[in-house]
Every structure is written in C-alpha cells, then in structure tokens.
Amino acid sequence: MQSSVFFGLSTVAYILAMIAYITYIAFKNRGIGVAATGITIAGFASQTTAILLRWSEFYRFSGMGLIRSIPLTNLYESLVFFVWCLILGYLIIEFKYKNRSFGAFVTPVAGLALAFIDLSGMSKDIQPLVPALQSNWLLVHVMMSFIAYAAFALSFSTGLMYLIATTEKRKEASYFFWSITFGIFAVVLVSMGIDWFIYKGAGMKPEAFIRSYLFKSTFMSGSGAVQAVSYILGALLIFVIWRYGYVLKRVIEGFKLSPEMLEEITYKSIAIGFPIFTLGGLIFGAIWADQAWGVYWSWDPKETWSLITWFVYAFYLHARLLRGWRGHKISVVAVMGFVAVIFTYLGVNLLLSGLHAYGSME
C-alpha cells in the first residue's frame, strides 16, 4: 500500500527532473542543473524506499525468509528494479564526469518507464512464488542480471548518441544503421500503442496481451490491405527519421558531450556489465538450474539468448581491446549488444514462447 505512494513520488520526480535537465541544457543555468540533480536524487531515494517497503510487505505476506522475498519475481518488479539501476548508474556517471547533460536522456527513460508501468495497468499485485522460484539464488541471479542489463542500457544509449553525434552524411553506413535502428524502435512502439488502444489492453496481463494481440492491428492484421498500409507507414516513419535525423543530431550536440567521452562511457559500462552478467546471469543461473532441475545448461531459448548476448559483448571487448576497433564500428556492436539484451529479457518470454504458443493453438 505505502510502497505505491513512494513509487508514484519517484515517477513524478523523474519526470520533473527531465524537465529540469532539459531547461538546464537550454539555459545553462547552474542553479537549475543543481536542482535537476537534487530532484533525481530525491526520486531515487523515494524509489529505494518503495522497493524496500515492497520487500518487507512481501516478506510479511509470504513468510518465506528475507532473501527469498526480494521483489524481483515478475515483469513489474523487474522493470522497477531496472529503472532503479539505471538511475544509480546515471548518478555515478554524473558525479564522475561532472556532466549533467546526459540526464536529459536518462531521466525521461526512467520516468516514462515507470509511468508506462502505471498506465499499462500491469499487474502490481504481490504474487506468491511458484515452487521453482523459491530459492536463495533468486536474489543474486536476478539482481546481478539486472545490474548488468542497466549497465548495458547505458552503453546502448551512449553508443547510439555517439553514432548520432558523429555521422555527418546521410549516405554513411553508420547513419543508416542508427536511423534504421532508431526507426524500428519507434515503429514497434507506435504499433504496440495502436494495439493497446484498439484492444484496450489496460488491465490485461502484459504476457497475455503481447501473446494474443501484439501487432494484430497492424503488421499481423487479418486484412491484407491493413498489413500493406502498416508496412508502408512503418517504412515512411523510418524514412522520416532517416531524412530528418539532423534534428536529433543537433539536440544531442546541444548536450555538449564529447564523442570521446561517449565512447569511453560505452566501453566502461560494458566492462562493468560483462563480468557481472557472466557471473550473475550465466554462472549463477547455471548453478540454480542445476539445483532445481538437474541440468546446468539445457540450451533452452532463455539460456541460449543469454549466451548470444554474452558472445556479442565478448565480440565487442575483443574487437576493441585486441583489434583496436574504435568509433563507428565499435559503437554499432555496442548497440547490437543491447538489442540482444532486450531480446533476452523480454523477447524470449513474450515473443519466442509466444511463437510456440501460437503453434500449439493452431
């Protein structure tokens, strides 16, 4: 009950912080910058309180021991924790690099993610744990995975910003890469929004919604004409982003972040995320699977996608450290790494198992 009040406060704080950061970039007023940081810290403190409260609520409710009651057991809780890690990572960067501009990029992501969770009516109920999740490995495995995901998310945003800020010509390969990646993200979000609106997704469980309705009003519609129009409009949106990408470039240039710094943050986030992901995601996951099911590795889609993600980042590190890749080439790898992360985190649960579920329904 009380935890939701603090969650609400942190959502508001992050959105206010976003406004403050953008104003700060526009007017370069030091006072506003300090205020922006202050609001972010307040939001972070409030979110921390909310997570701890929810933890204790779950602890009292489940009667299962403190470690096993960590609120990380469903999509809602994991998204909240992800946002928390993201803000923590951002605050560390702000204090280390003494640069606030990046906040204008991170706080909207955090605020919008929390607002999305709220608006989507995602199930926030405290749910009892199914037998497989009742293990002390839950804490370390899930927590470390999400810390790594947040580090990778930071590397993704700095990598993408690097690409946007440093490509000059529209005909360049890396310009195509970032505008199309960005465009696909936009198209997917818009079409999900349309599904949401048409099928009144609010109140549904996100898993069920995505499984039964995702893209059904656009790309996977029953009518061929609607499908064709969707593809044309999607392509058009990507084209517009490609054509007018310089607007985005100017915005990011306004952040006054040097490309070298963006590249360094990208590398450092991956250098922190990679060992944490290896240990917490892969190794602890394998040990837990071994304890629960008697197989430490079974090539199931979740495991395989974690391994794919691991390989992409291993690729990044080898290419950078041994082959000396820099600039556009390496930033493209960083961006692709996070696409793999998103797929590991959401795609496998929602789309891949969904794909197989469709298969069994027919």
């Binding site: 009892p128 199914v130 037998p131 497989a132 009742q134 293990s135 250098a271 922190i272 990679f274 060992p275 290896t278 240990l279 190794i283 394998a286 040990i287 071994d290 304890q291 629960a292 099911w293 008697g294 197989v295 430490y296 590795w297 090539w299 889609p301 395989t304 996608w305 391994l307 794919i308 390989f311 992409v312 291993a314 690729f315 080898h318 290419a319 041994l322 082959r323 496998v348 891949l352 794909l355 197989h356 469709y358 298969g359 069994s360 027919e362």
Partner: protein, 518 residues
C-alpha cells in the same frame, strides 16, 4: 621449408582474433535459429513455425532442408559441436601464443628508466622542489608510501636518482585465467557427456524402482518387446545385474550396454516413493510446493529418506534425483483414503478405506462407505459438484453415511475445506490424503563433470574480476639536482586499465612532493 609454412599457417589460423570473431558470430547466429525452431519437437510444430516466416507453401520444403542440416536438434549436431571445438581450440592456441610475452611482462623486474623516455609515457608530470637531495629522497619515499607503493630506489646512469615500483603485475594473467576457465567448463561438460547420464523415472506412490529411463527412439515392435523382456528379467533377478548377466551368459558390462541401447539404466540401489504431496497458497490453485518422500533401499534395508522439493533434490551414490513432474495414475481404484476423525468428546482416530469399503465412525454406531473420489472438486454454476482438473489440486471423497437410525445420506469431504467434514452430531471427518493414486516424476542425473564445471565457473569469476577490475600499474620517480640547489622531479607511470584513476593518484603524488616543509 614448405612444411613449416603449413604448420605455421595452421597455428596462426587458430591463434587469430579474426577466427575468434568469426566463431563468435557463427555460434551466435546459428543459436538464434535454434531458439526459433523448437528443438527435438514433432515436425508439425516446426512446420507451423517455419510457415510464419516463409509462408505455408514453402514451409514443408524449408523444413526438409533445415532438418537435413541438423537444425531440428542443432545443439547436438556435428557442425555445432565442431564450432564449439573450434572455439575451444582458438582459445587454447591464442593463450599459448600470447603467453610468453605476458609472462615476460609480469616477471621482468622493474628497472630505472632512461632519462629521455620519461616524456613518452601515458601519464607524466614534472615539478621542481626546493631543498637538498636527501630531503627530497625522504619526501619521495613518504609520498610513494602514502599512495600505497613500495618502491625500490637507486642512482641511474645519467646522474639522477630514481624510485620505481609496480603493483599487481599478475593482474595481466586475469585474461588467461578467464580463457582457461572456459576450457575447463567445456572439459567438464565433455566428462558429463561421457561418464554421466540424464534420465527420468515415474514412481507411483508406494512403488519402488531400481532402474531409470532415457528416451531412445525405438523403431520396431520387436524393439519394444525386447525392452519389455529386459525389464521383466531385471525384475525377476531383483535388480541383480551380475546374476542376470551370468544367467544370460554374457558379461555384466555387455548387459549394461545392451540395457542402455533400450534406454534402461540400472541403479545399484532401489528408490521408493512413499508419498507425493502438493501444497497450495491458501485455498487457491496456486502451487506453493511439490514434494516427494523418497526412501533409498540397499537390498531390503532402507538407508536414506528425504522429502525432496523443486529446489532441494536427493543425492545418493553420485546420482541426484530432482522433483520434475507429477500426475495422477490412470487407474485410481487402488487408492486409499486416510481420514482423521475427531469425535465431539475430543478423541481422535485414524481410519483408512478404499473405494467400496466401509468403516464405523468412532463414538457412534454409524458407518461410512467410500463411494467416490475426485482429484479436484468444485461446484459449478448450478451448485453441482464437478471435477475440474486431472491433478490432485483439491481432492475430495464421496462418503455414504448410514446413521445409527438407519438413514442413509451422502456427502463430499474435501481435503482443502475441513468444514465439509462436520457431521450433525459434531464429529469431524478430515480427509488427510487419498494415497496411492499419484506418481512423482523424477529427473535422475549422474554427472561426475559437474564439479569440473563449477571449478571452471569459479576460476572464470576470479579471472574476470582480475581482468576487468585490477590493473598493472608501473611508476617511476626521478630526482635530479639542478643549479641553484633545486631538485627537478620527473614522474612517469603506466596502467593496464583505468588510467584515469591512476592519473589522479599520480597527481596526488606530485602534490605531496611539492608540498612545502613546515
């Protein structure tokens, strides 16, 4: 000459980063296909999935091509295993290739630096300090100590005096530890494949097994018959493999491999399922725990007993049994209801009955007959009792009660709803269990390689920590007297990682050197 060229080329092929990058990409890309196509699934399933990508018309053809290429069971296919082997070889050869250079970097003792190379370092700083040579030396010693360096010192060739130190040179091994750990993990996996097994067994409550099973594609009727015959013989021989082998006139090893061909793995002990039980959250159907009470027998003697749960398996003689599934037997007629009956006077008594059997209700002359059983009972919209699941979510038994006066009435008693068992006179009949109609599905595993895998995981964690979070730092401080009694100080340093923080340390060092004596 020619021959050396070839072996050299093979060596440099396997030691190249390019190969690593190609293998990484190939493993990642093919794995993606493996996650989309359902592995080891019936063909129809995958044809439906493929049809989503290429359309109905092309799907069967695409399926055949992919099947021929091994994608339907790709993680076991020869080309995927070959990729993994390339991966391992690449790591091995790369490590051997680069090792001597790194070994030299780690073990070569640090020496004073030639005077003119100071400026060529990544991190440098300079200062001029007042005071005599001895005072400057003393100050340098203190400053170095305060930033945590234990420096050696001595005069250099160009008339200066140098302090030099390094920290954690062995952190350069981190990357090798990580790479070798991956090899250790792969070796562990191979040990598991060759010397272990994964199998399953379904044991009904009250039954015992001394074999476990693997999926083997049995093709003909004759195969099934042979499998059945082998199982029968094992049962007659009471699991004594040596005895059975002798009577068949073959060696025990031969018998074992013949059994394995038919997916039968004999254990040298017997495992009995005493009970299987599910717990739920409150009165909901949300499962809280799946539990089996297992007992291990050596011959007739029970030696170990444990309630296993999903995250808590039973280990015996290198074989581990995991709770993996459960279900209701097809035939529930042999089940036995267990009641706990509390009379109004407070006495309590346990009664057992099978379907059709009767018992007297304690404290009265009434009798109860067990007439029906439902694994999961609930009332439908009309209030009629219906069975809503084929697992024992909410077990209930139908009792026909003949009172002392001879009136007959029927009622359902539900395990989850104790109030359903109150009789008019205040007696409470509680259903404790309907025993003997469920089986527990166990995953049995023997994997002598798992400890090797764990060891590899441990060293991988250590290696990555060292490789990413520790840095080999080197530091030189050179003092040279100048005209006018001042001392010129030159500082140079290098760090294998996190240069920024080392730069700050060197800034601090320089500040300490410059500090005026008070």
């Amino acid at each position: 000459m020619e021959q050396k060229g070839v072996s050299d080329r093979i060596w440099s092929f396997f030691s190249s980063v390019k190969l690593a990058i190609v293998v990484f990409s190939l493993i990642a890309l093919t794995s993606i296909i493996g996650t989309i196509i359902e592995q080891q699934a019936p063909p129809e399933r995958n044809i439906t999935i493929i049809a989503k990508f290429v359309g109905q018309g092309l799907a069967p053809g695409a399926y055949t091509v992919l099947e021929k290429l091994g994608f339907m069971d790709m993680y076991r296919s020869s080309w995927f295993l070959a990729l993994l082997m390339f991966f391992a070889l690449n790591i091995l050869v790369c490590s051997i290739d680069r090792f001597p250079a790194i070994w030299r970097q780690v073990t070569t003792p640090l020496k004073p630096l030639p005077k003119d190379t100071f400026n060529s370092f990544g991190i440098t700083s300079e200062a001029v300090i007042k005071g005599g040579q001895e005072g400057a030396k003393e100050r340098a010693r203190k400053a170095l100590k305060s930033i945590g360096f234990n420096a050696k010192e001595g005069a250099d060739e160009s008339g200066g005096y140098q302090f030099f130190a390094q920290k954690t040179p062995w952190s350069r091994f981190g990357i090798y530890i990580s790479h070798f750990s991956i090899l250790i993990i792969l070796i562990g996996a191979v040990i598991g494949i060759f010397f272990g097994f994964k199998a399953f067994v379904k044991i009904p409550e009250g039954s015992a097994y001394s074999v476990v099973f693997q999926n083997r594609p049995l093709k003909s009727e004759a195969d099934f018959a042979e499998r059945g015959r082998l199982l029968d013989m094992l049962e007659t021989a009471r699991g004594d493999l040596d005895y059975l082998a002798r009577s068949l006139g073959i060696s025990t090893a031969e018998l074992k491999s013949r059994l394995k061909r038919y997916g039968i793995i004999p254990l040298d002990f017997t495992l009995k399922c005493d009970d299987f039980d599910m717990e739920f959250y409150g009165r909901s159907d949300m499962p809280k725990a799946y539990k089996s009470l297992l007992t291990v027998f050596e011959g007739e003697k029970p030696v170990k007993s444990k309630w296993i749960e999903v995250n808590s398996p039973l280990k015996y003689k290198g074989v581990t049994f995991y709770q993996s599934s459960f279900g209701l037997l097809d035939d529930v007629s042999s089940g036995e209801a267990i009641f706990n009956i509390k009379t109004p006077s407070g006495a309590s008594e346990t009664k057992r009955a099978r379907l059709g059997e009767s018992f007297t209700i304690p404290g009265s002359n009434a009798t109860a007959t067990l007439v029906d059983f439902s694994p999961a009972l609930r009332a439908d919209e009309m209030g009629r009792p219906v069975t809503y699941a084929d697992v024992m979510n909410n077990p209930a038994v139908g009792l026909q009660i003949k009172s002392t006066g001879g009136e007959v009435s029927g009622r359902w008693i539900l395990k989850r709803e104790p109030e359903s068992g109150f009789l008019q006179d205040g007696t409470l009949i509680q259903l404790v269990d309907f025993w003997g109609v469920q089986y527990t599905g166990l995953q049995a595993r023997k994997d002598p390689g798992v400890w090797v895998v764990y060891l590899g995981c441990l060293t991988l964690a250590i290696g990555l920590f060292v490789a990413f979070f520790m840095s080999h730092k080197k530091l030189w401080v050179r003092l040279q007297p100048e005209k006018g009694g001042n001392i010129k100080v030159q500082v140079a340093g290098s760090a294998s990682k996190n240069k920024l923080s080392f730069e700050r340390q060197i800034e601090k060092l320089t500040a300490l050197l410059k500090e005026e004596k008070k």
